[in-house]
Amino acid sequence: MGKIEDLEVFNGEGYQLSRLDKVIAAARANSVWPLPFATSCCGIEYMGSMGSNYDVARFGMERMSFSPRQADLLIVAGTISKKLAPILKQVYEQMSEPKWVLSVGACASSGGIFDTYSVLQGIDRVIPVDVYVPGCPPRPEQIIDGIMKIHELVKHEGMRNRYSDEYKAKLDKYNIEVNGK
């Protein structure tokens, strides 16, 4: 989605979030069901943030949706190799709108220390990423930080953004078809 300021451009001229939009956005922000695509070390830290000490359940996120149809947020935690990239893309495509992507950790975001022939240098080469979380692996605090950034994004997004031309253009860049419409 890019920065929050960009959203104004997204919304077209003079478009303001209506009250309904705001309510829905708040509802969405408080009920982001994650799909943890956790492959390696960061996955363990994500499990840590699920645990009692950090408890992402406070954000209404404890219901993990391993089925992409039910998920709102794709949490990519861990190295994505070139072999795995098509699968990641497929999972992203299977998710229903609205959907967001959180890229957790150095490997997922940029490849980290694995600047090697087999590792994808950042998942943003395959799917659009909304928020990047640095760290190798990031602490649960940082993951929660990223999740809250996602919430911020969700809260500022109107219901119509997903039908806008900008959004389509963004997905076109990744060769992803917008579901349905």
């Binding site: 309510v23 829905i24 708040a26 509802a27 969405r28 922000a29 408080n30 009920s31 982001v32 009692s52 408890d55 359940a57 406070r58 954000f59 209404g60 404890e62 993990m64 949706s65 391993f66 089925s67 149809r69 039910q70 709102d72 229903s96 709108e97 609205p98 219901m159 997903r162 579901n179 349905g180």
Partner: protein, 349 residues
């Protein structure tokens, strides 16, 4: 049937549906909180004070999520599945007596949508239909995991219905009526003639088996095989998103509520409470409602407590438990009950 009576029934129905849905919605919140407490966590606390708006947020989100039907799915059945699940879950509540009648001047309002004289059979019937929601949904998704979920659900529910039915028969034998109201009235008060009146004291084994079967019928842990995450991803609702998925969740929690209510009615005296003879009229009815709901919530809590404590069965072990343990035990229980009744009625003299 007069118009006023119809309106009255209508109001009761509306209230019942609202309450069922409300309880179901807040059961999700309660479940999350209970789980959190068991696990030394806080649970949802950011949507509203103490996270109280969490169910609304979930509902709002699900409602406005993209409605997606997989290409290869059987379209109509795919839609029908959650519908059936929801319908069945709501219908079961109709025959449950929530309390004694309330009086508004001339009007006497029964706290029950319909006192069908085969009420308990009605519940069994709807329970047995409930499996269609899952089966149809799972099959129509055209997904192997969903299909596995559907297959598991169907065989599990059929199997446990049997033991459940036998336990119900034991209760019916003791009461002599299939009407839930009669069953409740039969357990009047708490203590009479040197006995506890509630069925649970007379039939602890039947209660235990019924409770286990209720867990299985509502697909709760440790019998949540049709949807267990670690094996089948989402089970029958793997392919469902948006509000259809919400319907399944709703149905699950509604049936949780209703089965707790049924357990309260069958074994824990429904709206009876100790010392109820000191009250009468509307006070009694209101206290009855309170007692009934208190019992129901205790069972809802118990359901959750169990879910967050014990591991789940494997499929063959579940069948084994149902067919080789619960059914024989409940049959023996029924037999003994029959003998005792016969003895009490003086057949052996």
């Amino acid at each position: 049937m007069e118009t006023s009576e119809l309106i009255e029934k209508f109001i009761v129905i509306v209230i019942l549906f609202t309450v069922s849905l409300g309880v179901a919605a807040y059961a999700t919140y309660f479940e999350r909180k209970v789980a959190a407490w068991f696990q030394d966590r806080i649970g949802p606390d950011r949507a509203g004070p103490f996270g109280i708006l969490q169910p609304l947020a979930d509902g709002g989100k699900l409602f406005f999520k993209e409605d997606f039907i997989p290409e290869k799915a059987e379209k109509w059945l795919f839609i029908l599945g959650p519908g059936i699940a929801m319908f069945v879950a709501l219908m079961t509540g109709c025959v449950i007596p929530w309390s004694t009648a309330l009086e508004f001047g001339e009007n006497i309002v029964e706290m029950q949508v319909a006192d069908v004289n085969i009420g308990i059979l009605f519940i069994m019937g709807f329970l047995s239909i409930g499996v269609y929601g899952i089966m149809i949904g799972g099959w129509a998704s055209n997904n192997k995991f969903a299909l596995f979920g559907a297959i598991r659900a169907s065989s599990q529910m059929i199997s446990y219905e049997l033991a459940m039915g036998i336990c119900v028969i034991t209760i019916v034998m003791m009461t002599g009526s299939l009407s839930l109201k009669d069953i409740v009235v039969h357990q009047h008060g708490f203590w009479a003639d040197g006995y506890f009146t509630w069925n649970v004291f007379k039939q602890p084994l039947a209660f235990l088996i019924f409770f286990i079967c209720a867990l299985a019928e509502t697909n709760r842990a440790p019998f949540d095989l049709p949807e267990c995450e670690s094996e089948l991803i989402g089970g029958y609702h793997t392919e469902y998103g948006s509000m259809k998925m919400g319907f399944y969740l709703f149905a699950e929690y509604t049936s949780l509520f209703i089965s707790s209510a049924v357990i309260a009615v069958l074994f824990f005296g429904g709206f009876n409470f100790p010392g109820m003879d000191n009250f009468e009229g509307n006070t009694l009815a209101l206290l009855g409602i309170a007692a009934m709901f208190a019992k129901t919530f205790v069972f809802i809590f118990l359901f959750m407590w169990i879910r967050w404590t014990i591991p789940r069965f494997r499929f063959d072990q579940l069948m084994h438990l149902g067919w080789k343990k619960l059914i024989p035990i409940s049959l023996i229980n029924m037999l003994v009950t029959g003998l005792v009744i016969a003895y009490c009625e003086g057949w052996f003299n």
